[in-house]
């Protein structure tokens, strides 16, 4: 019989796979990540690959100064001698204004329509995913890092350290997070990096409590005592023994956290406190769509649906992960 | 009069890893007042046996796939197959005619109700009566199991009681409706040895006073020797030997029983050089039982035949059964 891996991650994955819905959502998330990473190659008026006057270049990624302002559609229709280009599937970028087709519904030319300034909705959606996903992942990364560190310390040392950390957690929880974020952004200015950091720095309390709880339970487990008796240093015990065993609920929490962070970013952008309005973001798309709600249904529906689908996918994956980790539900 | 007669009971679990044959063909008969000891180690199926008798097998993934449990439900009528009763009818039997005491009193008592409430629930469900009569019965049961000042203790929650007290409360709950059969599933394993002695003493005394039949499920051969009249030894879901307690301990016939008895550390100190006896190997995977005898890989007397043919139960004497081709001391 073929040897199946008995690593914990393999066991969890096999259990996770049993839920078809979860796998579909996971694929969707992966697809979204690919779209976000390769956005410049998917939605761009500049060609992906260009051979022009004997020189190869990738204008989508970096535009040679000689080619600034070129009308790529014209060049495609009437290619000059010896030139050859591969164009992106969607021939627009968020910054391209097609004044001939303002507020046009979805059509062959603009698959998802255009907005009040003639910008292609599909391009905005694709580039906007970068903001949402990067904020989601970086913010949660920061939150998990802080929460893990504090939770491990509190759970391992207990006593006074635990009292101090618990009070810090309680104080943090008292702040209404969203308003805290707004306030901080008012001071530091709403750049995407500030947003990521602020959401992360205000959202670690859930993880910290989870980790603290798990570590308090783990502290007395025999294998942790065994490491102490062997003479292992505190850091090693926390890193090698407690952390891997406390990670499971943290991963679940992180998955839900990404969903939450995406929603926060969208809300901030919707209110105008998020990324600058020139940068594409699903939230700002929704915000700008408000004035056209009666006449341009696609402007509200499409970014709204994107947010909904993404958050739902993350939530479902998080739930399936939680079930996959629970040893009682193992079949 | 035969109270309970079990024939060819099989309980299988249908899992992703295969069909786990937790109980695979068990027969026994229980008379009124009998004490039957069900002995085996982890994975032998004894706990699942007791759950099967009570029809408490988790379904899915488990199911009683065949067999019959004939129970003398009424004084005059014939025996009734418990496996064929509807769930509603079975609920009338559980707790009232057939009761069970579990191993871990902390997890089998509901932590959010007082013990008085929990015993009262059992009484009210089966016997009804006014609040006052139910309360009287609760106090009666608590003092029967030796809990001092029962009027006050009945207002205690499980966590306020010690392990021994909790187990007594469990016994009180099980016996509150004067059942005909009490199944005690490892009732003392989680207790300290001095408390264990108390609880076993209690169960024996009550069995006598109330004229119950007792099925004692345990892995402790000492407990069996002191309490049981008849013994069934189980291995890998099947029973391998049955006999009176004297026969089993004095003339064990199945190699597994012989091994178990040899593995008990002697009470008189052995010579320093002597090693502890152990049965090599481990219990087979119940989802992939080998053909033939399940004990073959660990048996000192194994022959080719043991791995090829299913071993039938051999009634070598009255009341004596061995499942082995080469039994004998």
């Amino acid at each position: 019989m073929r040897e199946v891996s008995q690593r914990y991650s393999a066991l969890v994955w096999r259990q996770f796979r049993k839920s078809r819905l979860a796998v579909v959502c996971l694929c969707f998330i992966v697809l979204l990540a690919i779209v976000a990473i390769f956005a410049p190659l998917i939605a761009n008026d500049r060609p992906i690959i260009l051979k022009h006057e004997g020189k190869w270049s990738m204008p989508a990624l970096s535009l040679p100064p000689a080619l600034v302002g070129v009308d790529w559609d014209a060049m495609e229709r009437d290619p000059p001698q010896g030139s050859w280009m591969v164009r992106a599937p969607i021939r627009y970028r968020p910054g391209s204004y097609d004044l001939a087709a303002v507020l046009s519904p979805p059509s062959v030319r603009h698959i998802l329509g255009t907005d009040g300034d003639g910008r292609d909705v599909a391009a905005q959606l694709i580039w906007g995913s970068r903001a949402s996903l990067s904020v989601g992942i970086v913010a949660v990364g920061i939150a998990v890092a802080i929460g893990l560190a504090l939770g491990l310390l509190a759970g391992f040392y207990g006593g006074f350290v635990d009292i101090v950390v618990s009070r810090i957690i309680e104080v943090m929880i008292c702040f209404p997070t969203f308003f805290l974020i707004l306030t901080v952004l008012a001071f530091v200015g709403p750049s995407i990096y500030n947003i990521m950091i602020v959401i992360g720095v205000t959202g670690w309390t859930g993880v910290a409590r989870l980790v603290r709880g798990e570590c308090l339970k783990l502290r007395r487990r025999d294998f942790v005592v065994a490491a102490e008796v062997a003479g292992a240093r505190d850091v090693r015990i926390m890193w090698r023994h407690m952390l891997p065993n406390a990670m499971a609920p943290v991963l679940v929490s992180a998955t839900f956290g990404v969903a939450g962070a995406i929603l926060v970013e969208a809300s901030l952008s919707f209110l105008g406190f998020g990324v600058p309005p020139s940068d594409p973001s699903w939230g700002s798309m929704l915000s700008q769509a408000q004035q056209f709600m009666d006449i341009a249904w696609w402007l509200t529906l499409i970014p709204g649906f994107a947010i909904f689908a993404t958050i739902t996918a993350y939530n479902l994956v998080g739930e399936a992960l939680r079930d996959a980790i629970d040893p009682n539900l193992r079949t | 009069m035969t109270l309970l007669s079990v024939k060819d009971l099989r309980t299988h679990f249908f899992t992703d890893a295969g069909v786990v044959k937790a109980v695979d063909g068990v027969d026994f008969a229980l008379e009124r007042g009998d004490t039957l000891g069900l002995v085996g180690e982890s994975g032998c199926g004894k706990s699942m046996m007791s759950l099967s008798l009570m029809r408490l097998v988790p379904d899915p993934p488990g199911r009683i796939v065949s067999g019959s449990v004939m129970f003398q439900l009424t004084q005059t009528g014939g025996p009734v197959d418990l496996l064929k009763l509807s769930e509603k009818q079975m609920r009338g039997v559980r707790g009232k005619r057939l009761a069970m005491v579990f191993q871990e009193p902390m997890t089998s008592l509901n932590p959010v109700y007082t013990i008085g409430d929990q015993i009262a629930e059992a009484v009210a469900l089966h016997d009804g009566g006014s609040r006052a009569s139910v309360r009287r019965r609760v106090i009666e049961m608590l003092s029967l199991v030796g809990i001092p000042t029962p009027e006050r203790r009945m207002k205690d929650y499980p966590h306020q009681l010690s392990g021994g007290m909790r187990q007594r409360a469990m016994v009180a709950m099980a016996l509150s409706c004067r059942p005909d059969v009490l199944i005690a599933d490892e009732p003392t394993t989680a207790l300290d040895v001095t408390i264990q002695a108390q609880i076993l003493d209690l169960i024996k005394r009550l069995q006598h006073e109330l004229g119950m039949a007792l099925i004692l499920v345990t892995h402790d051969l000492g407990v069996v020797a002191e309490t049981a009249g008849r013994v069934i030894v189980m291995y890998a879901g099947r029973f391998v030997e049955e006999g009176s307690v004297e026969q089993i301990f004095k003339e064990p016939m199945h190699p597994y029983t012989q091994g178990l008895l040899k593995a008990i550390p002697p009470l008189a100190r052995k010579l320093a050089a002597e090693r502890f006896f152990t049965i090599p190997g481990s219990v087979p995977n119940l989802a992939r039982l080998p053909a033939g005898c399940a004990f073959a890989d660990r048996c000192p007397k194994v022959q080719a035949r043991c791995r090829q043919e299913e071993v039938p139960a051999d009634p070598c004497k009255v009341g004596r059964l061995v499942r082995c081709f080469y039994s004998g001391s």
Binding site: D222, R236, N245 | D192, V193, D201, L260, A268, R275, T278
Partner: protein
């Protein structure tokens, strides 16, 4: 080199129970209340007692996982009572532990190889390749295949996991091992394997054991001496082979409570009344007096001294002299060989 590897004098340890907002002490669990004993080099001392007697806490104290409130602990002649964890670290190579529960004593996320070689890694012994070789040798020593190295704990049975725990304990070739109920969680038919393994290792490495258990039958057969503990105090210490002559009423109750696997033996039972009292409010005087069938008023008022009543037998009881006449449950043939 002192004759006794471990020497404990009048050890006390209590665990405060916090209450109130500022965590002030509401009550305390008095786990160990004045324990004095010593373990000779190469000896196996059995320690028996029921739940709440403090035997696990005593084990943790000897290993200096926690610090006692008062009293002294000497290991190999050195006073380690108040040493810091940093200074104790090199000493950790000499004292190790084997746990009761094979299902929680191994980190489920580590491979067997990682688990067994961790002590070597922590003390920076050898290089990576040498550690790997040594680990495989340790696994072989406890009866496991070399391909166990890359597997995970859940792939093994209880008995096998216990072997892995033992391999980890001997990795640093210690002098002293605390075996904390090493076979209690295992099936009867495989306990012998582990007990034989422990005995073999003792021969091979000249180990000293503190064998903690609640099963007198096992302890009697592996130890040279047995100490009986109750509610934080030692009630009696005696040579294991002379169990039948031990007189302390609690020892006798323990012996009498052990079910005898022989249906023909009819023991007169000394069934203790009441429950094991709590460690939070231990009784005054002799801790056993509320349950002792022979207790008198003196037992409640005065704590009995721990003194020798026969060569090799010491007990803490005011009336130990009288106890010879009331030995219960020891007249059965099984005990006659004592």
């Amino acid at each position: 080199m002192s004759e006794n590897l471990v020497e404990i004098k009048d050890l006390h340890k209590r665990f405060p129970i916090p209450g109130g907002i500022l965590g002030r002490e509401k009550a305390a669990i008095h786990a160990v209340r004045g324990v004095t004993l010593s373990i000779g080099r190469g000896e196996t001392l059995g320690l028996v007692g029921e739940s709440g007697c403090g035997k696990s806490t005593l084990g943790h104290l000897i290993l200096r996982l926690i610090e006692p409130d008062s009293g002294t602990i000497r290991f190999d002649g050195r006073d380690i009572t108040r040493e810091s964890q940093g200074r104790l670290r090199p000493l950790r190579r000499k004292m190790q532990i084997v746990f009761q529960d094979p299902y929680s004593s191994l980190n489920p996320r580590m491979t067997i190889g990682d688990i067994v070689r961790e002590p070597l890694l922590v003390h920076k012994i050898g290089r990576a390749a040498e550690r790997r070789e040594k680990t495989i040798e340790l696994l072989r020593l406890v009866g496991l295949d070399r391909d166990a190295y890359g597997k995970y704990p859940h792939e093994f049975s209880g008995g096998q996991r216990q072997r892995i725990g033992i391999a980890r304990a001997i990795a640093l070739t210690p002098d002293f091992i605390i075996a904390d109920e090493p076979v209690s969680a295992l099936d009867l038919s495989i306990r012998g394997e582990i007990l034989n393994l422990l005995a073999d290792l003792r021969e091979r490495f000249s180990l000293t054991y503190l064998f903690i258990a609640h099963d007198l039958k096992v302890v009697e057969n592996v130890s040279q001496r047995i100490a009986v503990m109750y509610l934080g105090r030692i009630m009696e210490i005696f040579p294991a082979e002379k169990l039948a002559l031990a007189r302390h009423p609690y020892t006798q109750a323990l012996v009498s409570a052990v079910p005898v696997p022989d249906p023909n033996v009819k023991k007169a039972r000394m069934i203790l009344k009441g429950d094991v009292p709590s460690q939070i409010a231990p009784p005054s005087g002799c801790p056993f007096h509320p349950r002792c069938p022979y207790a008198e008023s003196q037992c409640r008022d005065l704590e009995p001294a721990f003194s020798e009543y026969l060569p090799g037998f010491s007990a803490s009881c005011h009336f130990i002299g009288r106890m010879e006449k009331v030995r219960v449950g020891l007249s059965a043939p099984a005990f006659a060989g004592g």
